[in-house]
């Protein structure tokens, strides 16, 4: 091979993306009164920088548990996991991720602005900087003008948007979202899905998203991880390559339906172990 060919070959190689989350043979067994529960069993997964990874599966398949292990809210009982090259505990100490729960979990005695600045207060960031970042975060989720309102004055969808703004306010590169739109109606959900996608395209964050809605998973993700329960494991990993500026109309295209079909097959395969 001449030098010219080698250089050409190197130029054609895709730039290797940094692995943000690296999971190797991860297991989590809960010891309960009526025997062990295998919440996660031998999970292997890599989440690369800039990925939007959805975890989908029936209840009890371990998708929320997996997200919580990444967030260091649960500890694995076997295998290895590293976030940005360090343990989940160290990643949590460095505040490497923002977490969005199923419920908004806003503190009811704080205004929306002060809720969004809560993590910034804990990180002891100065007041002017806090206000500036809160403004930016609220602009990203289109909640400007609601800074002084209290959570009870906002609808469920708006509260969840405020919760997302809070997770974005301290500019962590990793966003962990646990069925954030599960409690909302379909119209609000569609709108928030679009908003989240635009946000992801603009900020280039790495997102791990748990859902039990197949259209949502296929619409939002660059990678879909299909899981099944008892024991919790990964059945299938599907890569998608929809354009980043896609709209909701894409949900009626054949490519979309094909991937949705593949997800559905994976879910059915996982479920058949029950019967």
């Amino acid at each position: 091979m001449t030098l010219k060919t080698v250089v050409n070959n190197v130029a054609e190689m895709p730039a290797s993306k940094k692995a943000v989350v690296d999971i190797n043979k991860l297991s989590l067994t809960f010891q309960t009164a009526d025997g062990p529960v295998y919440a996660l069993s031998d999970v292997d997964l890599t989440i690369e920088e800039g990925d939007f990874v959805s975890f989908i599966g029936p209840s009890g398949c371990g998708k929320t548990t997996l997200l919580r292990v990444i967030a260091d809210l649960e500890q694995a009982t076997g295998g290895e996991i590293s976030i940005n090259g360090v343990t989940p505990h160290e990643a949590r100490e460095k505040r490497a991720y923002g977490y969005v729960f199923q419920a908004p979990a806003l503190l009811p005695w704080r205004s929306i602005e002060r809720n969004v600045t809560l993590p910034l207060e804990i990180m002891e960031i100065s007041k002017e900087e806090r206000v500036r970042r809160a403004q930016e975060a609220l602009k990203l989720v289109e909640l400007n003008g609601f800074e002084k309102k209290f959570p009870w004055q906002l609808s469920g969808g708006m509260q969840q948007r405020a919760s997302i703004a809070r997770a974005l306010s301290f500019d962590a590169d990793l966003l962990l979202m646990d069925e954030p739109f599960g409690a909302l109606d379909e119209i609000v959900r569609d709108h928030l899905n679009e908003q989240l996608l635009k946000l992801w395209a603009r900020t280039n964050k790495t997102v791990a998203f748990v859902t039990h809605s197949i259209p949502e998973a296929v619409y939002l993700s660059s990678k879909i991880v299909v899981m099944s329960p008892r024991p919790g494991r990964i059945i299938d990993v599907i890569e998608t390559d929809f354009p980043k500026d896609r709209t909701l109309d894409i949900r009626e295209t054949p490519e979309f339906l094909e991937i949705a079909h593949r997800v559905r097959e994976g879910l059915r395969a996982g479920h058949s172990n029950d019967e």
Binding site: L73, F101, L107, P119, I122
Partner: protein, 289 residues
């Protein structure tokens, strides 16, 4: 909001007054009839009713008798006089407030310790609860005598009794309040790697405010009871409890009742003040009004 409550409260008050008048007539009737018979006087029911409501030392004073006595000893007398109910109220109130302040502080500190330190919960809680099983009427004289023996007299022993009574509801409520945050909120603080102090200040303490104010209303009323009980053993020098005692020594039932009603009014005013503070604080914390 008080609107809508004044009507029913007035109706109940009027009903109570009617019952009181009827009760006064019935309870004072035997002694009155006795008096008629000893003076060989003929009497009618109308006269009986009139006389039972105007006795010098009735068994049950009529409301207007108590009202007149209260007016005489609150408004128509110098505050510095030893017979002024304002002076006596202040004596009782000062030890109530001191005891309330120390008791609340002690209750909050105990609760913070119990919630954050495992060993404190197991070692302190049983003692906190059993401290309240001892009757206060038994312990009050002991506290006064012991403290008097080391030279502490007057305000402080009574405040100690008030503290003893009111730290308990504050402790119990605060422990519940500090433990009231939901798991999801505690998880949220974990994801920010918040320290225990930050979690306490930002989450636990604000969550505990409604519980704290509920217990403060109980605490301030019971603190007043403690102050009055503390005045009984010392031989009736000053304070509403002292007036109660003096009245019972000399058979001055009207005096007893006026001191009693004054104590009730003072307690009501204190609870209303705590309620007002509660509304202000909770409004600032964005609670739906």
């Amino acid at each position: 909001m008080m609107s809508g409550q004044t009507g029913p409260v007035c109706v109940v008050l009027i009903a109570l007054l009617v019952l009181w008048y009827v009760g006064a007539v019935f309870m004072n009737a035997p002694t009155q009839i006795d008096r008629y018979e000893r003076a060989d006087q003929a009497w009618t029911t109308g006269q009986l009713i009139e006389d039972t409501l105007a006795q010098d030392r009735p068994i049950l004073p009529a409301p207007h008798q108590v009202a007149v006595e209260m007016y005489k000893t609150i408004f128509a007398i110098k505050i510095t006089s030893k017979r002024s109910l304002v002076y006596h109220s202040w004596v009782t109130l000062s030890s109530t407030l001191l005891g309330f302040g120390i008791g609340t502080l002690l209750g909050v500190l105990l609760a913070v310790g119990i919630v954050h330190v495992m060993t404190l919960e197991k070692s302190l809680m049983p003692w906190v609860i059993s401290s309240q099983t001892i009757p206060i009427l038994a312990i009050a004289p002991m506290i006064i005598v012991v403290l008097g023996a080391i030279g502490i007299k007057g305000l402080v022993p009574k405040a100690v009794i008030s503290t003893y009574l009111c730290f308990f509801p504050v402790t119990i409520s605060m422990v519940k309040g500090l433990r009231s945050p939901q798991v999801i909120q505690l998880d949220l603080m974990r994801t920010y790697n918040a320290s225990k102090w930050q979690t306490f200040w930002q989450l636990r303490l604000p969550s505990a405010m409604p519980y704290l104010f509920a217990s403060l209303k109980v605490a301030i009323a019971i603190s007043l009871v403690g102050a009055i009980v503390g005045e009984l053993p010392t031989g009736a020098q000053a304070g509403l409890g002292a007036r109660l005692l003096a009245g019972s020594y000399y058979g001055q039932t009207i005096q007893i009742w006026s001191a009693l009603l004054t104590a009730a009014f003072v307690a009501a005013i204190l609870v209303v003040i705590v309620g007002w503070c509660e509304r202000r604080v909770l409004a600032r914390m964005g609670v739906k009004s």
